[in-house]
């Protein structure tokens, strides 16, 4: 397809009206609940027209949604419903009763949620309307969203390119304004990297910040439900609603999320750049020039705003990649054992298979190649004779890395790196060597290993650059609210840029509930 002329690629002013924030929608619907029904009708119909080009969504729950909206509209907002009427989209690995929770896998064909995730319960209690499910890499394993039984997700800035993964569908949905806030899950960068490829915020909370109850587990000690949004304020609201200790998840943090909004100034913030990590990527030619430029620009602008930017070294970061894959795959190999075709999901049809053969056939038929690869790796890492050398060492490396971060955070408040080494790459790129694909995660996985909070923000780009590039900020475990406030500062200083993908300008736009006339 031919891309629109450069001058038409950016229409920053449209960002103000095409894509309403969650907070503005909530505020509007709270005072005019009667406008909700027609908004949602238009929204869902618009989304159904625009989705096929990008394949971001796997279902739109029309009936259930209109019912809920009808009920909300007739009773009006209640105390504490800070997300009243706000449309939100769930990655299809998050449980909601009656919704398809297929995890982009054949083995869960037809599976419907039998209980609500805690995050879902909390969002709904705040008045949100969860109306659709998003495409993903199978069982959250992948960084391109090409490993999906529903087909790949396409990047809205260039349909021949990937959205990133594993939470590609949610990223694209947010980028295209299908919802102001969407949920993904982040185990090694699965929300931050697509955020970087699609030009939106992707925020991975500290480990334990948001309950994992209801999130289909991939790497249990690494996973977090993570939101996409287009404003820092929306991140703040959504995290306030979702976060907090959950008696059904023993790994949640006891300390509550207390908003830090408005308290931070860039002046005096100490920003560390892990120079070794970044230089290695630069020197080995793996860092794309636009990413390098974005990073350099951010560094300069931060200094200009009064922040202190210094080099740091994180001890143990060299072995983060192998440690991550061995731990994630080990945990995944165990977490995915429940997919056996016995109590739910797809069972092999052939008769006269004995039990072991039935298991092996159901799973072989039900899982895609990448999932099988990771299960094999994980099984290996834990198997007798190898567990100490692989899983054991990986855990030791992990804790060493966590200490390394702790040490670094004694001299800096936040770390800055690119989110991904390159912008979105082409779909269907054949990679013989799985390890080269894994390198995509080099900047994002340390935060999961060390349980930190981290956010990808879209960098401002020169007019000649078209594909979004994200930069990542990481803060210590527990400092989520502070990090959100940092994003607010970046917004205020125009150090990040929320753009509008081309298609938003050429197809029927969303109704604008904020203008009496309707459509823009």
């Amino acid at each position: 397809m031919s891309s629109p002329p450069v001058s038409e690629r950016f229409a920053p002013h449209l960002a103000q009206i095409c894509f309403h924030s969650a907070s503005s929608l909530a505020s509007h619907f709270s005072s005019s609940p009667h406008s909700m029904l027609s908004y949602f009708e238009s929204l869902m119909s618009s989304v159904e027209q625009r989705n096929p080009a990008v394949n971001a969504l796997t279902s739109v729950q029309k009936e259930a949604t209109l019912e809920r909206v009808q009920r909300l509209a007739s009773r009006g907002p209640q105390e504490g419903e800070t997300l009243f009427g706000v449309p939100i989209i769930l990655k299809e690995n998050i449980q909601k009763v009656g919704f398809p929770v297929q995890c982009a896998s054949r083995i869960l064909e037809g599976y419907r949620g039998q209980f609500d995730a805690t995050a879902v319960e909390r969002l709904e209690r705040a008045g949100a309307v969860l109306y659709a499910t998003a495409n993903m890499d199978e069982f959250a394993m992948g960084s391109s969203n090409e490993n999906s039984v529903h087909g790949p997700v396409r990047n809205p800035y260039d349909l021949s390119r990937v959205s990133g993964g594993s939470s590609g569908g949610s990223a694209v949905a947010c980028a295209l304004g299908f919802a102001p806030v969407t949920l993904g899950s982040d185990t090694g960068g699965s929300v931050r990297q697509p955020a970087s490829y699609c030009g939106v915020y992707g925020f991975k909370p500290s480990y334990g910040r948001v309950s994992r109850y209801g999130l289909v587990a991939y790497g249990s000690s690494l996973d977090q439900i993570s939101p996409y949004a287009r404003t820092a304020a929306d991140l703040d609201i959504v995290l306030q609603v979702m976060a907090g200790e959950d008696p059904r998840d023993a790994t949640t943090l006891r300390e509550p999320y207390v908003s830090h909004w408005g308290r931070l100034r860039l002046d005096g913030v100490r920003v560390g750049i892990p120079r070794g990590l970044v230089s290695h990527a630069r020197e080995s030619g793996k860092l794309h020039p636009s990413v390098a430029r974005a990073l350099d620009k951010m560094e300069a602008e931060l200094r200009a705003a009064g922040a202190k930017v210094i080099d740091v070294e994180i001890s143990g970061i060299d072995v983060a990649l192998p440690a991550y894959y061995l731990i994630a795959c080990a945990e995944a190999s165990s977490n995915l054992s429940r997919f056996d075709g016995i109590r739910f999901g797809r069972r092999a049809h052939e008769k006269n298979l004995d039990l072991a053969a039935l298991y092996a056939r159901s799973r072989a038929e039900g899982f895609g190649d990448e999932v099988k690869r990771r299960i094999m790796l994980g099984t290996f890492a834990l198997s007798e004779g190898y567990a100490e050398a692989y899983y054991g060492r990986a855990q030791a490396a992990r804790e060493a890395l966590a200490s390394g971060f702790k040490e670094a955070f004694q001299t800096v408040d936040v770390l800055l790196t690119p989110t991904a080494p390159t912008p979105a790459f082409e779909l269907g790129r054949v990679e013989d060597d799985p390890t080269r694909v894994y390198f995509n995660d080099i900047f994002t996985i340390p935060a999961n290993l060390a349980r930190l909070c981290a956010v990808s923000v879209p960098a401002p780009l020169a007019l000649t650059e078209f594909l979004p590039v994200g930069l990542q900020f990481c803060a210590p475990q527990g400092k989520d609210a502070w990090l959100v406030d940092l994003v607010r500062c970046l917004e205020e200083h125009s150090l990040c840029e929320m753009r509008c993908p081309p298609d938003a300008c050429t197809v029927p736009a969303l109704p604008n509930p904020l203008s009496a006339g309707g459509l823009v």
Binding site: A364, T379, P476
Partner: protein
């Protein structure tokens, strides 16, 4: 790193209950080999003094050591039998059904 014997790969597949064709087994062996070679740096990694926790226990949350998380002995049967069995691939409405398990119970 030593070469992974092919019986090892076959055994892994059996352990993981994955039925792989001979071609898939071979490819899997290659993949594993490549990945493990790329992870060679881990085998020479020596953690600094005092930087790790107990080797056989995962530290979950920074500073969460002093906090246990448990629940009181209250009953809640949160899953409805009919809904549960409805999603089973084979059920008689009372039990989940599987091919006969030879060799008796667990």
């Amino acid at each position: 790193m030593e070469t992974l014997p092919s019986q090892t790969v076959a055994r892994l597949a059996r352990t993981a209950r994955l039925e792989l064709t001979p071609e898939e087994l071979e490819r899997s062996g290659h993949d594993l080999q490549k990945i493990l070679a790329a992870f060679e740096s881990l085998s020479t990694f020596v953690p600094r003094e005092g930087s790790q926790g107990p080797a056989d226990t995962v530290r979950l949350n920074e500073g969460s050591e002093a906090r246990g998380t448990s629940r009181p002995d209250n009953v809640l049967n949160a899953l409805d039998k009919a809904a549960f069995l409805a999603q089973a691939p084979d059920s008689d409405g009372v039990y989940v059904r599987v091919p006969l398990i030879l060799g008796g119970g667990s």
